[in-house]
Subunit: 149 residues, 2 copies
C-alpha cells in the first residue's frame, strides 16, 4: 500500500475508471458510450427536453463536449434538437422514441456492468456510496458553487 491508497482523489478516479470501463464495454452492444448514455438519460427524463447548457452543467462537461455528444446521439436517431417554446434562441435536446427504447435497454446493462468492479462492497455499502456521492454531486450543482466559480 502506498500514500495513494489514502488519497481520496486517486481512489475516486481509479474506482470511477473501473466502472466507466466496464460500462463502456456493456454499452457497446447498444452502440453507446457512458457519456452519450448520460446525455440520453437526461434527455429522456426531462419532460420538455433539456438545453445543451443545462446538460453541460449537470454532467460537469464543457458545452463543446456536450454539443459533440448530442451530435452523435442525433446522428444515431436517439435524440433531436427542438426550439424551446419559451425562448426561440435556445434549442432543447429531446429523446426520440428510438432513444427511449435504447435508454431502457442500456440502463439494465449499465446497472449490471457496475456489479463486477464493485463486487467487494455489500448492497448496503453501495447505498452508502450513493448517498455520500449524491450529496457531493448535488452540492456541485448548487447556487453556492455557481457563485464560487
Amino acid at each position: 500500500m502506498t500514500a495513494l491508497s489514502a488519497d481520496l482523489g486517486f481512489l475516486l478516479s481509479r474506482t470511477s475508471g473501473l466502472v466507466v470501463r466496464a460500462s463502456n464495454a456493456a454499452l457497446a452492444a447498444e452502440g453507446l458510450r457512458v457519456r452519450q448514455y448520460s446525455v440520453l438519460v437526461l434527455a429522456c427524463d426531462s419532460t420538455a427536453g433539456m438545453s445543451q447548457r443545462e446538460l453541460a452543467q449537470q454532467l460537469g462537461l464543457d458545452p463543446s463536449q456536450v454539443v459533440a455528444l448530442v451530435d452523435e446521439l442525433a446522428d444515431a436517431g436517439l435524440v433531436e434538437r427542438r426550439p424551446d417554446p419559451a425562448d426561440r434562441r435556445t434549442r432543447l435536446v429531446v429523446a426520440t422514441s428510438a432513444g427511449r427504447r435504447t435508454r431502457q435497454a442500456a440502463e439494465a446493462r449499465v446497472a449490471e456492468a457496475a456489479v463486477e468492479p464493485l463486487r467487494s462492497l455489500t448492497e448496503e455499502e453501495h447505498g452508502t456510496l450513493r448517498r455520500l456521492l449524491g450529496r457531493v454531486v448535488a452540492d456541485a450543482g448548487s447556487p453556492a458553487d455557481a457563485r464560487a466559480r
Copy 2:
C-alpha cells in the same frame, strides 16, 4: 433529480471529475497534473523504484499512457529510469531528489484541493469513502481480477 442521481457509475465519475479538476488546478503551481503526480508518488514510495508495467497496473492505465507520463516526469528531472538489478531487461522508474521535493509540496496541494469539492461530507464520511473505495481499488489489483481479464 433524475435517474442519473441513483447511478453509481455516474456519481463516481462526476465526483471524480470535480476532484481531478480541482487537483489539476492546484498542481499547476508545481507544473504537474494529477496522473503525473500519481506516478511520482508511486516512484517515491517504492524503495527500489517501480517498473512501468507495475505503474500501469496500480494506476489502471495502459502501459503506453504510463510511458508518456514517465517521459514527461523524466524531462522535468523528477524521475529517472534505471535498469532493474534483478532483471536487466526491465527498467525501474525512480524518483530523483528534485522529484521527492516536488512530491512533498504537491501532496499538500492535492490534499487541500479535495476539500472544496467534498465540502458537503464530514471528516468521518471522508473516512468512510476512503475505506469503501480503498477496498474496491485493492480488489481490482487482486489476482482474482487479473485472472478475470
